[in-house]
Homo-oligomer: 206 residues x 2
């Protein structure tokens, strides 16, 4: 199988290939793609070969064909029904960002302890937390996004999994303790700040 390190590079390939397609470029060599993306040509060949044979010796890669292949590998040819729990600052930013809809990632409902406040700020249907289990039982839910305070995250995640949801995108700064068969991806915006402060502190010491 393919390592997650390679998988995590795929979105970057996908972005660059979309840009090339927008610019009308039909084919590109691994060398040209490498210099564009700041990688080596052998890294590109190695990454892409782990998913199948795409390029041709001496010809390079067909941009449209490779883009579609990566889109397929990333699962973006399907659509995903999502619920968002927590319609606060982060939740609102996610709900209002329409690029996700273009990728087939649809936020269909928001759950919050204060649904009236949430409903004032967004057009997506907002529900109280007591409506969660009924909603999951009667609607398709592929992904649950958690944008709630850290203290509430484990309890709410347990409810979501018990209700039958199998994938969680978690913005709360806590490692959720969930069954093996649940896919969890933690997003930490704060860690990105810490990387900068580390590098600035290192700079200052040089």
């Amino acid at each position: 199988n393919v390592s997650m390190t390679v998988v995590r590079r795929l979105p970057k390939y996908y972005q660059y290939l979309k840009d090339l397609e927008d610019r009308g470029v039909e084919k590109i060599s691994s060398k040209e793609l490498a210099s564009l993306m700041g990688l080596t040509a052998s890294q590109i060949r190695q990454d892409l070969n782990s998913f199948g044979a795409y390029g041709q010796q001496g010809y390079g890669y067909r941009v449209l064909e490779l883009k579609e292949a990566i889109k397929q590998i990333l699962g973006l040819s399907a659509t995903y029904d999502c619920i968002l729990i927590g319609g606060g600052n982060i939740g609102q930013a996610l709900a209002k960002y329409n690029h996700y809809r273009k990728d087939g990632i649809l936020i269909n409902a928001i759950f919050d302890v204060d649904p009236e406040e949430v409903a004032r700020k967004t057009d997506i249907a907002a529900y109280g937390m007591d409506g969660l289990e009924d909603y999951v039982a009667n609607n398709s839910v592929d992904i649950c996004i958690l944008a709630i305070p850290r203290e509430a995250a484990q309890n709410v995640a347990d409810r979501v999994v018990k209700a039958g949801v199998r994938a969680i995108l978690n913005f709360a700064p806590i490692d959720l303790d969930l069954p093996e068969n649940v896919i969890v991806n933690n997003v930490s915006i704060t860690d990105n700040f810490y990387t900068l402060t580390y590098l600035l502190a290192e700079d200052a010491m040089l």
Copy 2:
């Protein structure tokens, strides 16, 4: 020097040690810390040894001492003056999140093409884009956060660097082309969604 893979694990150590301190735990063995964090004891010893000798054979690590050491390595014992460019959805979420202030990461001003709209939603001073260079010349700016549309990001980043800012946290989905001596960290929320869709698509194929 220390590899960035290890550096990117430090925020997680920092979070766990803060939690242990809150719970009044004074010392912890690498084995106990490993089981708590889902790592191996040898990984923990290897990571921490790359920054200096912290644990004692047979005794383990002093929680407070190790936490302070990691805080120091992450540069969090200093304060960082930040400006935020783009006071839209993401910008507002960052501006309103007060955990950063506790870490000494201070957002002191927001710049936007529509500063009146931004000023309505937050207490932080909001300026038009023509005030950028003057502000950087007359105030301390350690980090610039970019939360603007992709099309505007390169031009704005060039202005920010020309004005003298050396570190950028970029939320726009584009790789900025900047001089070597500028520290840039790209945050991609979208990539986290793609990781989930990849894993869901993989699951569906099994």
